[in-house]
Structure formats: structure tokens, C-alpha cells
């Protein structure tokens, strides 16, 4: 089973994701922001990084960009609940940055499972 790193600033959501992924049988690491996520990934690289896009400290798109640079093989799934008042399609942007899958919040357990499956299929 792939090891998954969750990068999400919302505590409640991060907990939910951890529990859901654990139920699915994945091993999980957690980070509260992009900076922390990169550090954790540097020590113990994950197979999949599930990252939020709008976060304090390091913004999601930048996190994706850095991950792709330092670990070209990592599979990234980006999640977003829309921009904070900006008319930018963050999920589309994340795809351009190299995210294998995107998830619009809120998403179901099924959506999450499908995204993980899809991400693993990518080269």
C-alpha cells in the first residue's frame, strides 16, 4: 500500500483525511503547511502527496512546484475549495504545475479513492 503525505492546514479536515486513508489501509504522514510537508517528505519520501492549495507559510502551488523539482517521481493530488475571493481556477493551475489528480472540496470517500488510484496509474 502506498505511503501518503497529507498537507492540509485545517486540523479537522487533516484528521478526517488521516482516518479515512488509514481505513483504506494506507500509511499516512501529516503536515500543517507546505514548508513542513517538504521537510517531512525530504526525510521520508511519500508515494503520494495529498496537498491543499491555499495554506499559510507555503502556498500549495509553490509546494507542488518544489516537490516536482526535488522529487520528480512523486505523485501529487491537489485539493481545493476554491480561491479566497480570487477568480483563479486553482485546481486547473495545480494541474499545470504537475498535480496528477485534483479534488474539489468537498469530496466523497469514493472520489478520494478514485484520485489515489488515478495518481498511481500515472507513469
Amino acid at each position: 500500500m502506498p505511503h501518503i503525505l497529507i498537507i492540509e492546514d485545517d486540523d479537522s479536515l487533516r484528521k478526517m483525511l488521516r482516518l479515512t486513508l488509514a481505513k483504506m489501509g494506507h500509511t499516512v504522514a501529516e503536515a500543517q503547511n507546505g514548508k513542513e510537508g517538504l521537510a517531512i517528505h525530504g526525510k521520508a519520501p511519500a508515494d503520494i502527496v495529498l496537498t491543499d492549495l491555499i495554506m499559510p507559510e507555503m502556498e500549495g502551488l509553490e509546494t507542488i512546484m518544489r516537490l516536482r523539482r526535488t522529487h520528480p517521481g512523486v505523485k501529487i493530488i491537489a485539493m481545493s475549495g476554491g480561491g479566497r475571493g480570487k477568480a483563479i481556477d486553482y485546481l486547473q493551475a495545480a494541474k499545470w504545475m504537475g498535480a496528477a489528480q485534483v479534488l474539489a472540496k468537498p469530496f466523497s470517500e469514493k472520489d478520494l479513492a478514485a484520485a489515489i488510484e488515478g495518481a498511481l496509474k500515472v507513469g
Partner: protein
């Protein structure tokens, strides 16, 4: 009779003198005499009186006739000088006569003396009168010469060119000014025909006119009413004014022409005319109204024609009764404006914005400024002002303010949506976890299912908000709007009762628009649904029109956000109840609704607004209470080739031939439901009454995978039908549709075992998604149980 004779005797000899006097008296003279015998004595005597004759001895001891003659000449007196002598030679006599003596007589032959005296006195008198005549003539001559000099000086000093012309047209006199004006010297002009000072084009007719003048001479201006021109030496012309004065002298008839070069005056006049014309051009062509009144406001001194356009009243009416300007002001503004006018116009800080009501009852916004005009001594004697129509400006300002407000609400809503999605993700995620954890506890499962359903509804709402705040993902490509519009209209037509007439005009030759077909579809559905709601009480008409148009400067001015260029305009208008001012103000705001609670989310127009904005478009609304509402949506046209656009169905999950029953007592709506479901890949059947539906299910309980039923039906409501159907087959998924959700609470619906409630008019997306979801749940639960 004795003649008086004053005789000066120059004689040293007393006796000889007596003898001489006796002789004179004998000749009949009454003699007054004085005898002198020296030069000085003679001078004294000459100075002391006027003498008729001087009679001198030739030779005396201290004096002599020749010396006496010198004394007389020196005294400048023309008195006859006779010499009486004793014995002198002929030569002496001749010498004396040559020296100026008038006669020479011998003492002892004095008989000739009286004759000589008479003759010489006569001669002297004659000489005297001749001298007098000559003196007089000389004085006269001098006076004439002086007068002529003065006249020439006066004429030369005259500010006008003065030219004297004789009857033949020759110039006989010109003054210095003539030389300056015409650039000729006097000698070049004198004696030449006056026509040399007339431009060539008038030369032919001038002699005739001149002749006519000599026939009827009178002092008058030349060329009454005509413009006159003079010609300078170099051939250049100048405008002139000429005054003619006729006169006659011994030498004949003349005319004196005084010529004024009016080039400067004409130039000044032309400049003034042009300046006035410029002012008029400005005053009459700009949008502002210039006005000027007296201080008491009794007199309208000037009002520019713009007044008629803006006020809708004539300038003449205002000039007649200047105080009518106050009558035109909106009653709510009148008091304030009057107060400000009285207090501030003369101070110069009058600057008021107010409304006027035109005779056609339309209202315009005016900005009016005024400043005082002072006379030479600094007193304010007039007030001048500029009034401008700022109605358009205010409207733009208002549009801008609204746009800003919508932008702010959009930003706020977008921010809320983002946070809300995070929360929803947690709620739905934990719900899923809870369902796994509580497997086997049916009661908890049921509650969790409710939480999940509520989460989905919340997610749907957030999606709408995001559409409004333009944050929902959409893919724009060049499309023909008519496909998406026609598709939406087909659904609307089937949904909306036949009492609402549809008029559509969707030409096929329109340019493409960079758009998201799904969103255009939603726009038409939302606007169409609103139109229907507005016409629910009575028959009406829905008009949907697409047209191409070129946005010009005028439209750009009218609507902020438009740019000059080609557009495609989508108009959706109804004949419904219309909107009042307050509603129009707020209609695009999210959650603003005029519908009863529960009947609408208040997001329909917000979503339309967001979508149009997201398409770089502009939406305008015209609405009148009781008449209807017209929305006009402007989309920039693109030159690219248009595809038909992604069809809406492609984005909606499709069925796989499952059989679905649609129950609706209104046949068109039943047919709509059938058609929609068929489009989505289901096998649909229709029942138009509850009884019919019951019969069909009773006959074959597993025939239908799902039932969609209307709630408001005669005889039996959808809710009752559902209860009875579930008795026949408890696991039958039933969806209730209702136009009036307020009548029905969700609790009631779910209590009846109905799986979901859809608000009418439902959309293809919503129906498709709901049916697909319920059937998918059915599949998984079936799998689970099996």
C-alpha cells in the same frame, strides 16, 4: 477864397521869408508857416507837423537846399520841395532837380510860385494815394498767402486722406495723409485722374458715377450701402469709407473727397464678429447651459440653446418669466437650491446639484454653478452661471458603485465558499467514516445518511455562490450561443404552462462567443424561470432573442464595462409584474429574493450576473412595474470558428436504460420529464394521474427502477401516492417534484419515505444528478445486501 497852406520855410533871411509869404498870400493862400535855417530845426519842424510844402533857399550860411532835401528824405515824408534862390546857374538848378527837388524858382520872379505849389501838391497827393493803394494791395496779398498756408497745414494735418477732384476727374489737391494711405507722392497724383486710386475692377464704372455726382452734387457719403475699396500704388486694396463734399470756385466745380482707410476697423469688427461667433458656437453646441441674469433675478439676460434640450422648455419662455427656472426644480430640491442661490450666487461659491422635472415628467440631474460679474466700480450687477446635465454621469457612477458592490460581495462570497468547502469536506468525510464505524446500527446509519444529504445540499449551494463569484471552474471556447440557448428553451417550454407564449429569434448567422455552454444554458434557465415566476398570475409572453450588434461609443457611455466592438446580445424579456426601483437596485445580490421563503434561494440572478461577468460580458435590465422586465446580456463576439459547444448532457452522469416513471397531472410537464430522462439515457414512461401510476406499479412492482412524481395533483398528492407505492414496494426510490416548496417541509417528505425533493422547474443537471445518485445508491445497497 483863400486856400489853407501849411508851408515850412527854410530861409536864413527874415525879409526874404516875409517876401515869400506875402507873395503866397497874394496868390490866395491862407498860410501857416514856420521858418527854419538849420538841419536840426528842420527835423524838429518835420516831426512836429504835417506840411503841404517845403520852400527852401538854396544857400544859407549854415545850411543849404541840398542838405534840406536830405533831411526831408530822411524823415520819409513825401512833401513837395521847392527851391527859391537868388542867383544860381542852370547847372545848379539841374543838380537840385536831380537830387529830388520838385521845382526851382528865382527870388525875384516868384509869379510862377503858386502854380508850382498847386501842381506839386496835386502831384504829391496823387503819389500818396498811389502809395496807399500799393500798400493796401501788398497787405491783401500777404493775408491771402497766410490763409493759403494755414489751409494747407490744416488739410495736411487732417487724419483722413483728402482729395480735391475737378469736373474732369483730375486730382487738383491732395493732402499728406493721401500720400501715406495710397503710397504715392503728391506730385505723382496732382493732375492725374482720380481713377488711379480706384481698384481696376471698378475703374470702368467710376467715371460714370463721378459724372452723375457732378450732375446732382450734394454733401453725402459715397456708395451708400456698398463696400468701397481703394487701391495702393502696389495694387493692393483696402476697404475705405468716402465722404463727398461739392463746391464751386471761380475755376469751376470741384468735389472734395475725404477717404478713411477702414482696414483696421474692419479687422477689429471681423475679430469681434468672430469672437461672438465663437462664443455662440461654444454656447450653442456644448452640453452645458450658459446663463446670465441680473442680480434681482428679474431678467434673464442670456440663456444658451442647450437649455431647451435639457429642460425641455423654450428659452423664450424662460426669458419672459425668469422665475420659472425654480418651478422646474424637483420639489424636494427646490427650497435648498433657492436658499443656496440667494446666499451664494453673488459670493461666487454657488455649486448645486439638483433634479429638474421636464414637461414630459422625466427627471434629469443638473449641476449648476454661478459666479458674480462686477461693474467698473466693483459692484455685482450680474450673475453668470453654467448648468450641466449630469444625469448620465450619475447613472454611470451608480453603475460603477453597484459593480463595486457586486465585486465586494463576490469576493466575500468567494472567501466564504472556500472556507465553507473545507468545513463541508470535513462534515461529509467524517460522516462517511461514521457510517463505516456504525455499521449495523440502522438508526445511526439513517441519521448519518441525513447528514450526508444535508452536506450535499450545502455543497450545491456553495457551488451556486461560487458561480456567482466566478470561482467555479468553467471552460470557455468559441461557440454559437444559439445551441445552448435553444436547448435551455426546449426544457423551459416543456416546463412552463402554455398560457405563457414563447417568442424566440435565434438567427444562425451570428458571430461566435467565447463561452461555456453549460453556463449559458444555466443563464437562460435562470432568467426563463424568473420570467415565468413573474407571469404566474396571468397569461404572458417570454421573448428570447439573439442578435449581433456593434457596440458604439454611445452604448459604452451608457453601460460601464462595454467596449466598442462587435457583440452578441442575448435578450430575455417577459410581460410579467416587473420590478420596482428597490428590487432593481438589489436583484443581483446573492440571497436577495422577492419570492416567499423556501421558494427560491435568491441566487438565480446572482449566478447569471457572475456568469456574464465571467464571460467579460455586461448585463443590463429594463423593468417597469406592471409591464414586465427585459434583461439584455452582452457577450463580446470572437472571430474564431465556432463549434456547437459541448452539449450539456455530456457533463451530466447518464443512465443505462433504467426504466423511470414520471407522474404529473399536467401533461406537458410529464412529457418534459420523460424527454429529459430520455436525453439522459433512461427509458421513461408517463402517467398523468396518481391512480394510473398506482395501477402500473401494482401490475408490476419491479417494472420501474425509480419514480419521479409531482406533488400537487388533484385527487391524490404526490406524497400520498408515494406512501401507497412504498406499501407495494418498500425499496422503490421516489423523487418528489414541487413548485411550491413552502407547502412542504423536507421532514414531511422524508417521513413519507421519499428519497429526495426537487424544486420545479428542475434542470436537466439536477434531475440527472439526482436520479443517477439514487440509482447508484440502490445498486450499492443491493450489492451490499446480496
Amino acid at each position: 477864397m483863400s486856400r489853407p497852406l501849411r508851408a515850412l520855410i527854410v530861409e536864413d533871411n527874415e525879409d526874404d521869408a516875409m517876401l515869400l509869404l506875402r507873395e503866397l498870400e497874394r496868390a490866395g493862400y491862407a498860410v501857416i508857416s514856420e521858418r527854419v535855417d538849420t538841419a536840426s530845426g528842420m527835423r524838429t519842424a518835420l516831426a512836429g507837423g504835417s506840411w503841404d510844402v517845403v520852400i527852401s533857399d538854396y544857400s544859407m550860411p549854415a545850411f543849404g537846399a541840398l542838405e534840406a532835401l536830405e533831411v526831408l528824405k530822411a524823415a520819409r515824408q513825401d512833401v513837395p520841395f521847392l527851391i527859391v534862390s537868388g542867383t544860381v546857374g542852370e547847372e545848379t538848378a539841374v543838380e537840385c532837380l536831380r537830387a529830388g527837388a520838385h521845382d526851382f524858382l528865382v527870388k525875384n520872379r516868384l509869379t510862377r510860385l503858386p502854380n508850382a505849389i498847386d501842381r506839386e501838391i496835386r502831384a504829391a497827393r496823387s503819389r500818396a494815394s498811389q502809395h496807399e493803394e500799393e500798400r493796401k494791395n501788398r497787405a491783401l496779398e500777404t493775408a491771402r498767402a497766410c490763409a493759403e498756408d494755414r489751409l494747407r497745414l490744416v488739410i495736411d494735418a487732417a487724419p483722413d486722406a483728402m482729395i480735391m477732384v475737378d469736373a474732369h476727374g483730375a486730382m487738383t489737391l491732395v493732402n499728406a495723409r493721401t500720400e501715406q494711405v495710397f503710397d504715392y507722392t503728391r506730385s505723382e497724383l496732382l493732375g492725374r485722374p482720380v481713377e488711379m486710386l480706384v481698384p481696376e475692377r471698378f475703374r470702368a464704372v467710376h467715371p460714370g458715377l463721378r459724372g452723375g455726382y457732378f450732375d446732382r452734387p450734394q454733401a453725402r457719403p459715397m456708395g451708400a450701402g456698398r463696400e468701397l475699396f481703394g487701391r495702393r500704388r502696389d495694387g493692393s486694396e483696402m476697404p475705405v469709407e468716402i465722404q463727398l463734399v461739392p463746391f464751386r470756385t471761380d475755376e469751376g466745380r470741384f468735389v472734395l473727397a475725404s477717404v478713411v482707410d477702414v482696414t483696421e476697423r474692419k479687422r477689429a469688427e471681423a475679430a469681434l464678429r468672430e469672437s461672438e461667433q465663437r462664443f455662440r458656437q461654444i454656447a450653442e453646441n456644448i452640453n452645458e447651459v450658459f446663463w446670465m441674469t441680473d442680480v434681482q433675478k428679474n431678467q434673464m439676460l442670456y440663456i444658451s440653446p442647450g437649455y431647451e434640450l435639457i429642460w425641455g422648455r423654450t428659452c423664450a419662455s424662460l426669458c419672459q418669466t425668469p422665475r420659472t427656472w425654480l418651478d422646474a426644480i424637483h420639489p424636494e430640491d427646490r427650497g435648498r437650491v433657492l436658499e443656496a442661490a440667494m446666499a451664494k450666487q453673488q459670493r461666487g461659491d454657488y455649486d448645486e446639484v439638483y433634479r429638474i422635472i421636464r414637461p414630459d415628467d422625466t427627471v434629469r440631474w443638473i449641476r449648476d454653478r454661478a459666479f458674480p460679474i462686477r461693474n467698473d466700480v466693483g459692484q455685482v450687477f450680474r450673475v453668470a452661471g453654467i448648468a450641466e446635465d449630469i444625469t448620465d454621469y450619475r447613472r454611470l457612477e451608480e453603475q460603477f458603485r453597484k459593480a463595486q458592490k457586486m465585486e465586494a460581495i463576490g469576493t466575500l462570497a468567494g472567501g466564504i465558499a472556500h472556507d465553507f468547502n473545507n468545513i463541508l469536506a470535513a462534515i461529509t468525510g467524517f460522516t462517511s467514516l461514521a457510517r463505516i464505524a456504525a455499521a449495523g446500527n440502522a438508526e445511526v446509519q439513517e441519521y448519518l445518511e441525513e447528514i450526508g444529504r444535508a452536506g450535499e445540499r450545502a455543497a450545491d449551494l456553495v457551488q451556486q455562490i461560487m458561480a456567482f463569484s466566478r470561482q467555479r471552474e468553467h471552460k470557455r471556447s468559441p461557440i454559437q450561443l444559439r445551441y445552448a440557448v435553444a436547448e435551455a428553451l426546449t426544457l423551459l417550454r416543456a416546463t412552463i404552462p402554455a398560457t405563457i407564449e414563447f417568442r424566440t429569434d435565434l438567427p444562425s448567422d451570428l458571430p461566435a462567443v467565447l463561452a461555456d455552454a453549460t453556463q449559458i444554458h444555466q443563464v437562460v434557465m435562470n432568467l426563463g424561470t424568473n420570467a415565468w415566476h413573474a407571469m404566474r398570475d396571468r397569461p404572458g409572453r417570454l421573448e428570447v432573442r439573439l442578435e449581433k450588434l456593434r457596440v458604439d461609443e454611445h452604448l459604452v457611455e451608457m453601460h460601464a464595462g462595454l467596449h466598442p466592438g462587435p457583440y452578441v446580445r442575448l435578450s430575455v424579456s417577459d410581460t410579467g409584474h416587473g420590478m420596482d426601483q428597490r428590487t432593481r437596485e438589489r436583484m443581483f445580490e446573492p440571497f436577495f429574493t422577492t419570492k416567499a421563503p423556501g421558494e427560491g434561494t435568491g441566487l438565480g440572478l446572482s449566478v447569471v450576473h457572475g456568469i456574464v461577468q465571467g464571460h467579460d460580458g455586461v448585463i443590463t435590465v429594463y423593468s417597469e412595474v406592471g409591464k414586465g422586465t427585459a434583461f439584455q446580456l452582452y457577450f463580446p463576439a470572437v472571430a474564431a470558428e465556432a463549434s456547437a459547444g459541448t452539449t450539456i448532457e455530456a457533463t451530466i452522469p447518464r443512465g443505462t436504460g433504467q426504466r423511470v416513471l414520471v407522474v404529473d397531472d399536467e401533461e406537458p410537464l410529464a412529457r418534459l420529464g420523460k424527454k429529459m430522462l430520455e436525453q439522459l439515457g433512461y427509458a421513461a414512461e408517463v402517467c398523468t394521474s396518481a391512480a394510473e401510476a398506482l395501477a402500473a406499479v401494482r401490475a408490476d412492482p419491479d417494472r420501474f427502477a425509480l419514480i419521479v412524481t409531482d406533488d400537487t395533483m388533484p385527487m391524490m398528492t404526490g406524497t400520498s401516492l408515494a406512501r401507497q407505492l412504498l406499501q407495494l414496494r418498500p425499496d422503490l426510490p421516489i423523487v418528489l417534484t414541487s413548485g411550491y416548496s413552502a407547502r412542504l417541509t423536507r421532514e414531511q417528505v422524508l417521513e413519507a419515505g421519499i428519497r429526495d425533493l426537487l424544486l420545479k422547474p428542475t434542470t436537466l443537471q439536477l434531475l440527472g444528478a439526482t436520479v443517477h445518485r439514487l440509482l447508484a445508491q440502490e445498486d450499492s445497497s443491493t450489492c451490499h445486501t446480496s
